[in-house]
Each structure stands twice: as C-alpha cells, then as structure tokens.
C-alpha cells in the first residue's frame, strides 16, 4: 500500500520506494503486511526469542510444497546466527 499523508494514492511514490526514500518521517509512506519477507510471522517470533510458537499457515499453497515455511526457516538460520529449527525428537 502506497499512500501520501493526504490519503490519496500517489504513483510518484514508487520511485521513492525503489530508492528506499520512504520512511515514517517522509511525505510518502510504504506500508506492507510483511508477506514479501515472511508470510508466517515466524521470523519475528524467533527474533524475539519466543519459547512457544504456534504457526497457522494459511498461505496459498495449492501444491502443498510448504514454500513459506522452508523460506522462513532458512531466513532464521541465516540471519539469526546459531539459531536452529529442527524436528523434535520426542
């Protein structure tokens, strides 16, 4: 969602976003649900060191390939150093 503080969509904001010139102080604000990075919210939960996480995956995954889960785990392992997610042995 791209918007100006006036409330009207602004096509000119696209170049600003591409150049990372949009922030909460600028006239143009770029809002997103974060799905382009982590569609499950798992990354943030692990970053905050939550001990019990319940993920309900309602993504569009008609082939049941678990792409978002795999991507989230890969991001966690790469970005949050020395944190691993593995299948429980219990």
């Amino acid at each position: 969602l791209e918007t100006k503080r006036s409330g009207r969509p602004l096509a000119a904001a696209t170049p600003c976003r591409s150049l990372r010139l949009t922030n909460d102080k600028s006239a143009n604000i770029y809002l997103s649900d974060g799905g382009h990075f982590d569609n499950l919210g798992l990354y943030e939960m692990i970053r905050r060191r939550c001990r019990f996480i319940l993920v309900v995956d309602a993504e569009a995954d008609k082939d049941f390939a678990f792409e978002d889960l795999g991507k989230a785990i890969r991001q966690v392992v790469i970005d949050l150093d020395a944190t691993s997610v593995s299948r429980t042995s219990k």
């Binding site: 001990r51 049941f64 678990f66 889960l69 997610v85 299948r87």
Partner: protein, 149 residues
C-alpha cells in the same frame, strides 16, 4: 509433514519442532506448525480442495463424513479448531464440525488402548492426528442421517 508429492494417507497433519537458541541451547523452544488445508483428502488425492468438495457434494456414493480439523489439546481449556472447508450455501452449516467432535471422541477412546498412538507430546502440549481414513469410514463416526439411509 510431507509435501503433496510424497505424502501418504498416514502422513502427519502437523509438525512439531525444537527451536534452539544460541544463548540457551539446553532449553529449546517449541514450534508447532499447522496448515488448516493440509488433510489427507487434499494430499493423498493430489487434487485441489475444491475438487474434492465438489466431488463430495455431487456424488452421493462418495458422501462420507469428511472431517476437518487438527486438534490441539491442553493448549487451552478449549480445543482449537481451524475450519477452512469449502462450504456451499446449500449445505448444513458446520456439519463437518459436528463430525469432527464425533471423531475426536472416537479417536480419544481408541488412543487409550493404542500402545503407540499418533500423539506427539511436547512441552505440555498433546497433538492428536485425527485424520486417518479408517476414522472417516468407521461406522462409529457416521452421522445419524447417514445411518438412516
């Protein structure tokens, strides 16, 4: 959980994982992963969920109880139920939910006598995989309306 290409009817319908944090590796966290549309009907048939729903409502011989649900017990006083079923307007609302609770009861009774039940226990949480084909086809879990046919 397995992807649709390699999944079988007995594949688990949920996943439990340990999260090992660097600062405290001896005390891992717990991740529970649920996918509301991941059921054996959708996976083993390797067809779309909509296809199965249409088949269910168009062919009477296939109109068996289709139970949706993954139950998380002891997570809260109530059961958590994620109902993502395709529900045409002419169907009885929440009919599958009623079936679900029948299967829960039936399955729970079976688990008591099962030496290796399909239960994963971790961190005080018990997950029960309820979606087995024999459950859905068992007479004990059929609806009264089906029994009268």
């Amino acid at each position: 959980m397995k992807t649709a290409r390699v999944a079988t009817k007995d594949s688990p319908t949920f996943a439990v994982a340990d999260i090992i944090y660097n600062e405290n590796r001896s005390r891992p966290g717990t991740l529970i992963y649920l996918k509301p549309t991941y059921f054996y009907e959708t996976v083993s048939g390797r067809r779309s969920l909509i296809w199965h729903r249409q088949r269910r409502f168009s062919a009477r011989e296939h109109d068996r109880p289709v139970v949706l649900g993954i139950a998380v017990r002891k997570l809260s006083p109530a059961w958590l139920l994620f109902d993502a079923q395709f529900m045409p307007a002419h169907t009885k609302p929440f009919a599958d939910m009623a079936e679900f609770f029948k299967v829960v009861k039936h399955r729970a009774a079976r688990l008591k006598a099962d030496p290796e039940p399909a239960v994963a226990q971790t961190a005080g949480v018990t997950l029960v995989s309820l979606l087995r084909p024999d459950d859905c086809c068992d007479k004990a879990v059929r609806t009264p309306s089906e029994s009268n046919r």
